[in-house]
């Protein structure tokens, strides 16, 4: 283990009395901060939830009031009209597949860039960094052409490949950063033990960069989940399309049925929030138990 220097200033010992006052104030401040951000974060969901039980007229006249009659029909609308079930299943499948492949590929390339020296490494790194900034809106025509010529138009795999690809620069950027931080000694010890390239990657580097992988995966998943432009451009049938179509289903040329749209949004986020809560437990426990860093 590489020792990390903990630099403490000399005047570290403060008197007990000041400490007491300070800790009370800090405690209050702490809860203010926590509550502020909690209210701020919960507010949109709460508003969405209440609004999803209103009529459109109520939403327009009193956007922050309670509904006179709770309109459960909005949920029937949302579930009936837009094939939400299929769209949701597609979103789950496409997002998970694109996230797994993406993270695998990002891990592979990051390992090479972060842990080895070779010709062209710098060029790859610079290209990938610039890739983060590419405005995807400008690439509609080339992407459509590519997907069409590969025969992947209106297929799950088409969206999976595109989503995998568009996330590679960001994921690589994140994962590489974490892999850079793994001390060289760990790997050197493994070499002495006779571990080859692949074994070191799978047994040492990947587990040690778990935080980075999870960070990148979270982001990649959210990108896939919320992507709309390409999901419409590269598909044409409901059996392939994603949840974003379900949400946009209540928009038409001249107006939007906001209350039904909000109901669709609520329906679509409930499973993802539950998944997130379950999944996060796994991640965090995995992280703590596997903490051999430093």
């Amino acid at each position: 283990m590489a020792a990390i220097d903990i630099k403490l200033p000399n005047e570290k010992k403060t008197s007990v009395e000041t400490n007491k006052h300070l800790s009370v104030i800090l405690n209050v401040l702490k809860w203010i901060v926590l509550m502020f951000f909690a209210i701020y974060a919960i507010f949109p969901i709460l508003w969405l939830l209440i609004s999803s039980f209103k009529t459109n007229a109520e939403l327009m006249s009193e956007p922050f009031g309670l509904p006179a009659v709770w309109q459960f029909g909005n949920y029937l609308n949302a579930l009936k009209a837009s094939n939400l079930g299929i769209l949701f299943a597609n979103s789950v499948f496409i997002s998970i597949a694109a996230t797994c492949i993406n993270i695998m590929l990002a891990g592979m390339i990051s390992y090479c860039i972060a842990r080895f020296t070779f010709k062209g490494k710098e060029i790859i790194f610079v290209m990938f960094s610039a890739g983060i900034l590419v405005p995807l809106n400008a690439l509609m025509v080339p992407y459509f052409t590519i997907v069409n010529k590969l025969g992947l138009y209106d297929k799950h795999i088409g969206l999976i490949i595109v989503y995998t690809a568009i996330g590679i620069p960001v994921s690589t950027f994140i994962v590489r950063g974490f892999m850079n931080g793994i001390p060289r000694e760990v790997e050197e010890a493994a070499i002495i033990d006779g571990c080859g390239f692949f074994k070191r990657f799978f047994m040492i580097i990947l587990p040690l960069s778990k935080t980075g992988l999870v960070t990148a995966a979270t982001f990649q998943f959210l990108t896939c989940w919320n992507e709309f432009v390409y999901s419409m451009l590269l598909t044409s049938s409901t059996k392939v399309r994603t949840i974003q179509l379900g949400i946009r289903y209540f928009t038409n040329q001249f107006s939007t049925d906001f209350v039904s749209m909000y109901a669709a949004i609520i329906v679509s986020i409930i499973p993802s929030v539950i998944c997130y809560m379950l999944f996060q437990e796994q991640i965090i426990s995995g992280l703590t138990s596997g903490a051999v860093k430093g």
Binding site: A57, P142, T145, L233, R248, Y249, N252, F258
Partner: protein, 447 residues
Amino acid sequence: MKMKVSLKKSLSVLAASGVLVSTVLGGCAPKTENEAVSEAAAPKKEEAKKEEAKKEITINFPTIWVGTDSKANVISQLITSFNEENKGSIKVVVEEMPDYQAYREKTKTNVIAGNAPDIFTTDNAGNTEIFYKSGKLMDFTPYLDDAWKGTFLEGTLDKEGVYEGQHLAIPYEMAVLPVMYNAKLLKQVGYDEFPKTYTEMFEMFDKLKAADLIPATQMTGENAWTSMLWYSQIVTSIGGPDVYSRGLDDPAFVEAAKVMQKMFDYTSSDAVGAGAAVPAGHFLNEKAAVFMNGPWFIGRFKKDGVEGLYDNVQIAPAPYFEGGKGQAGGYIGTVQAYLVAAKQEDKAKEEAVVKFIKYLTDPAHVAQLSKESGALFYVKTGVSDDTERIQKAMIEQSNAAPYVANHFQAAMPQKVVTEFPQALSSLALGESTPEEFVELLKAAESK
């Protein structure tokens, strides 16, 4: 010891993948010298295969008339019955595109990539010009015999959808955009009908304002739709219905901007930056007395309006501008949707496409569509006793109108249309004078 791994292998693979990329995408490089994209795209190949097997012809039809659109039900019924009637020979497959912006982007991308959908729709904005120029659209001229032509309103087919002598687009849905007002609120300030001139209208606005009402809604967010319509009314009223053809140098544009600036003194405090939902909300909640929109909005008076709103809504032509070149009773309108089709190699498929378009434009079907949705069409359907009253008034007023002029958004180049909301908010906030407002539009035009 510094160790280097040669990247030769990786590079050669990269090069190979580069070759792969360029072979796969042969025709996709930016076209510099009229290098037309002519490769048959994947879906078309599949169709060709099907054709050999003597199977039914599949027509893909991406459409916005789905979901909550007022035409969705009837369109869906029409397609189902068409598919049943032509079972085994033709099948229309719908692609649902409820989001209009996404629809416009997708159809444009399809056409640019050389892969136009078999049938789709477009409006009177910038995309249509790209479609015409692309050379990918079917020319309906050989099919437009007198019998089919005769079902459309007089003269529309000679004027609309014609590009270089070819009929590339069939005008379908019509937009007419009168003043819609709340008769109950007008009565409160002593008016039984909508004023005939702008001077009178502003007098009424003063009274409405004094009664703590929003006289007329405006918006500068999104595409500034309702305010764009007002500006169109004013500019054609001052400069005449042909004002757009004279370009932005015509003094009418500055004069109209002066009136427009005044309009913003009589609107809601949230008008600058407001999207379409905001003015709609004010009118539907009887907070605003005057509103401007098209026939598709009729259904919402009942559905989303406050109790009894529908019975209070009346429509009128926009006021007349004293000393202007326009005439009293002049109307604003445009083609809201053209039906367009991709050029087909295969004659049988071409005929199938035309057959479906004829089915959609069949007067009986259009009458049904119009009745259920409230929308108006370029196909003659006539007014019957059970025509909805506001829709009936729109048809009568626009028929009686001395002219139906285009609106600004349809008549001006796309660059100007894009800049219009920004220039208008600048005008409304007093950051720009009316002259500067027109200068901003001109600057956009020359970009």
